[in-house]
């Protein structure tokens, strides 16, 4: 091989490398750090939901108060990990969104602090749903104001039911089975009931809704596990799901891999007649632009199990204050003002909660908004406010929210899945979850 040839290619190669290097040098401009924001900036961390609404609300806050806000967000799926890293690494965070399920953990870890002493925040409690106030309270202290709240609803496709000759939605889980079989046999849907039971943060909400409506509890008043007790609903609820999948074949065996969002899309494309979904999904499901069954989706009260009730599970997310913000008087005050701006009133109205509802349908935690004309119009266009109110009154806080919730939740979720995959009986599965609970309670309680 000739030398010339070799060198040419090498030069050629170097030229290209150099060109790429020049590009890199151009980018060095980007390396110059932006001046760090001034000390009175409030650092606000949220997950990437309603991003534009948050931005516009932050912009207005800055205009009105002159306080600078540094807003950033991370995807919901990685939000918790991201915040934990930042808490441990002591990164500047003043206000952040918190899920009710994380409250005890984060409070015990010393990452978030109560906001009891801020009268401008506490004054909103009178108008807020009791469920929300309870869910933000840990060991007697309140940790923030509501961002949004919702509950698990039982939804059905009215037309599918009519086609199968069913006039009224089911009142009990037995009736669900009957109606599903009718719909299945009529060839309307292969799997009439949609349950999204994949491992993800939604799973506990579905399982809790099933358990509560079967008249069950996970724990008793003292916080001891009763989930393994066959009379306490969890085992029955699980048995019902297992039968629905294997005996009646009315729920897809793939439900263990279906997440909430995929399940929503499946229901919206008309593959199912019934679904457990967060209530706010009714807006999407009845929007013809996003759903093939728009206008047909109605809500029924959660079916009852044996000895059960129409109870369901509720959840909420709130605006919290970090420990580092609470430690500094000015920072704490600025942060409290921002919390009020989002969770309380802004310029005299519950603006954020209202817009969040009208934009995406997410439920609000303040009662007066039910009387707002825009809110009523929006609700009436796709849902029945009376049923919503009735069901919301039956929504219960998860009785497993403790400092060891996360750890138990992993075992509990996979126990249900194991039973659905027939790798364990419902009794065995719940016994495992109960045993884990007892261990953790003993270790950390």
């Amino acid at each position: 091989m000739s030398n010339q040839f070799k060198n040419l290619n090498r030069r050629d190669f170097l030229k290209k490398t150099a060109a790429a290097g020049a590009l890199g040098a151009l980018g060095a401009n980007g390396l110059i750090t932006q001046a760090m924001a001034a000390g009175d900036t409030v650092h606000f961390m949220a997950w990437s939901a309603a991003v534009d609404l948050v931005k516009s609300h932050v912009a207005e806050f800055q205009k009105v108060t002159g306080i600078n806000v540094n807003y950033s967000n991370a995807p919901w799926a990685q939000y918790r990990d991201n915040l934990i890293t930042k808490f441990v690494g002591n990164a500047p965070i003043d206000m952040m969104w918190v899920s009710d399920a994380w409250l005890p953990e984060w409070a015990e870890a010393g990452w978030i602090k109560p906001v009891d002493k801020f009268d401008n925040l506490m004054k909103y409690n009178a108008e807020a749903e009791k469920f929300c106030n309870d869910s933000m309270t840990y060991k007697g202290s309140q940790y923030g104001l509501t961002y949004y709240t919702d509950f698990m609803a039982f939804l059905y496709d009215d037309e599918a039911l009519k086609k199968a000759g069913i006039s009224n939605p089911p009142k009990s889980w037995d009736e669900v089975t009957e109606q599903c079989l009718k719909i299945k046999n009529a060839g309307i849907a292969e799997y009439p009931l949609m349950l999204a039971l994949a491992q993800e943060s939604w799973l506990i909400e579905f399982l809790a809704a099933m358990t509560y409506s079967h008249g069950g509890n996970f724990t008793d008043d003292k916080g001891n596990s009763i989930m393994q007790d066959p009379k306490e609903g969890a085992v029955r609820a699980l048995q019902w799901v297992v039968d629905a999948v294997h005996k009646h074949k009315i729920v897809s065996p793939a439900s263990v891999e279906i997440g909430e969002l995929t399940g929503l899309k499946a229901f919206a494309s008309g593959n199912h007649a019934f679904a457990l979904e967060p209530k706010y999904r009714m807006r999407t499901l009845n929007d013809p632009k996003q759903s093939k069954i728009a206008g047909r989706v109605k809500q029924a009260l959660m079916p009852m199990g044996m000895d059960g009730s129409h109870a369901t599970v509720g959840w909420m997310r709130f605006h919290g204050m970090s420990a580092s913000a609470a430690a500094d008087k000015t920072r704490a005050e600025n942060t409290a003002r921002l919390i009020e701006w989002f969770g309380g009133k802004a310029n005299g109205e519950y603006k954020f909660q209202k817009y969040l509802f009208t934009d995406i349908g997410a439920g609000f935690g303040v009662k007066p908004l039910f009387n707002d004309a825009d809110v009523q119009n929006a609700y009436n266009s796709y849902a029945d406010v009376n049923i919503i109110k009735e069901q919301q009154a039956l929504a219960r806080k998860k009785d497993v929210v403790t400092p060891w919730f996360g750890e138990w939740n992993e075992v509990h979720g996979s126990s249900w899945q194991a039973a659905i995959l027939q790798k364990a009986t419902p009794a065995e599965a719940m016994a495992k979850a109960g045993k884990k609970w007892d261990e953790l309670k003993k270790e950390m309680g």
């Binding site: 015990e108 263990v256 891999e257 995929t262 899309k265 750890e407 979720g413 995959l421 950390m444």
Partner: protein, 305 residues
């Protein structure tokens, strides 16, 4: 007979500071400083935490517990179940990667029309960001809408839709498939580069000796590819053992622990359970095994390393 310690040291010192060693030190300095600044602290930090009962929900009680975390992890049934899943994931992934990348390298080593186009195309999977890749596969595998079911159905291979990731027997192989798909391009390139460096003389000489194509392949190509195989095996074994992203994006360890591999368990232990102590201990056990495997591969396949 040993030389006197004094002389020995003097001799070694002299050797250490001769020109060769000086230039070697100079050449190695940059890489070592980068690693010292960025990588050493994290490694020591997580090693250090592995000896404490560090549960973040108990910030004021963090006792030093010697090897308790290690004992706890090693006596945990779930850990051993995870280990066996990690082993099967790693074995099937690395085997598939080796076979595929070798075949691709052989193909691209031939000259034919369209070779350059083909070699550009095979790089595409590698270039899709992990997150987009995970969501792409999630949708492909989806039992209700997925492209995989759709394709098999349209081709008449199946007559009703199949449960994919939700079937605990299929979960690991399917995740492995997505992993392999993304990893093969790099492996193929590494093998191809090695293949290109085999001197043509060897083939000519063998041909003169009357060796046919297959003999030449067995006796020249395969042995000469040892360094390439070693690179691929070490790199891909390390990647597969520690792989986390697809488990996170596709199944979160489910259904029912079917994809609960060690890396997933480390994540759960650290970020979900907030037990940094046991999480670090688990990481160190995994690291030790990974290192041992890498060492073994180097000793077996490496020429002079």
């Amino acid at each position: 007979m040993r030389s006197s310690p004094k002389r020995d040291i003097k001799f070694r010192l002299a050797r250490r500071f001769d020109y060769e060693s000086r230039s070697a030190a100079l050449f190695i300095l940059p890489v070592m400083s980068v690693l010292a600044i960025v990588a050493v602290f994290p490694i020591l930090y997580s090693f250090y935490t592995s000896f404490f009962n560090l549960k973040l929900t108990r910030p004021h009680r963090v006792p030093f517990v010697w090897f308790d975390n290690y004992i706890k992890v090693l006596s945990d049934e779930l850990f051993w179940a995870s280990v066996s899943r990690t082993v099967s994931f790693t074995v099937m992934s690395v085997a598939a990667i080796l076979v595929l990348s070798l075949s691709i390298a052989i193909l691209l080593n031939e000259s034919f029309r369209g070779r350059r186009l083909l070699s550009a195309i095979i790089l595409i999977p590698w270039a899709i960001p992990t997150v987009a890749n995970g969501l792409l596969w999630k949708w492909i595998y989806d039992s209700g809408f997925g492209a995989l079911n759709g394709l098999l159905f349209q081709l008449g291979i199946i007559d009703s839709y199949i449960t994919w990731l939700g079937d605990s027997d299929k979960t690991i192989p399917l995740i492995s498939n997505s992993f392999v798909w993304k990893e093969v391009p790099l492996a193929a390139i590494l093998i191809l580069v090695t293949m290109k460096s085999i001197p043509e003389d060897l083939y000519r000489a063998a041909k003169v000796d009357g060796a046919n194509v297959f003999k030449r392949f067995i006796h020249i190509t395969i042995p000469s590819l040892k360094p390439g195989f070693m690179l691929v095996m070490i790199y891909e074994t390390m990647m597969a053992i520690r792989h986390f992203d697809l488990f996170f994006l596709l199944t979160e360890g489910g259904p029912a622990e079917a994809s609960h591999v060690v890396s997933w368990q480390i994540y759960v232990e650290t970020f979900r359970n907030l037990s940094f102590g046991t999480g670090s201990a688990m990481s160190y056990i995994l690291a030790l095994v990974t290192f041992a495997l890498a060492y073994f591969i180097i000793r077996t396949l490496g020429s002079k390393l």
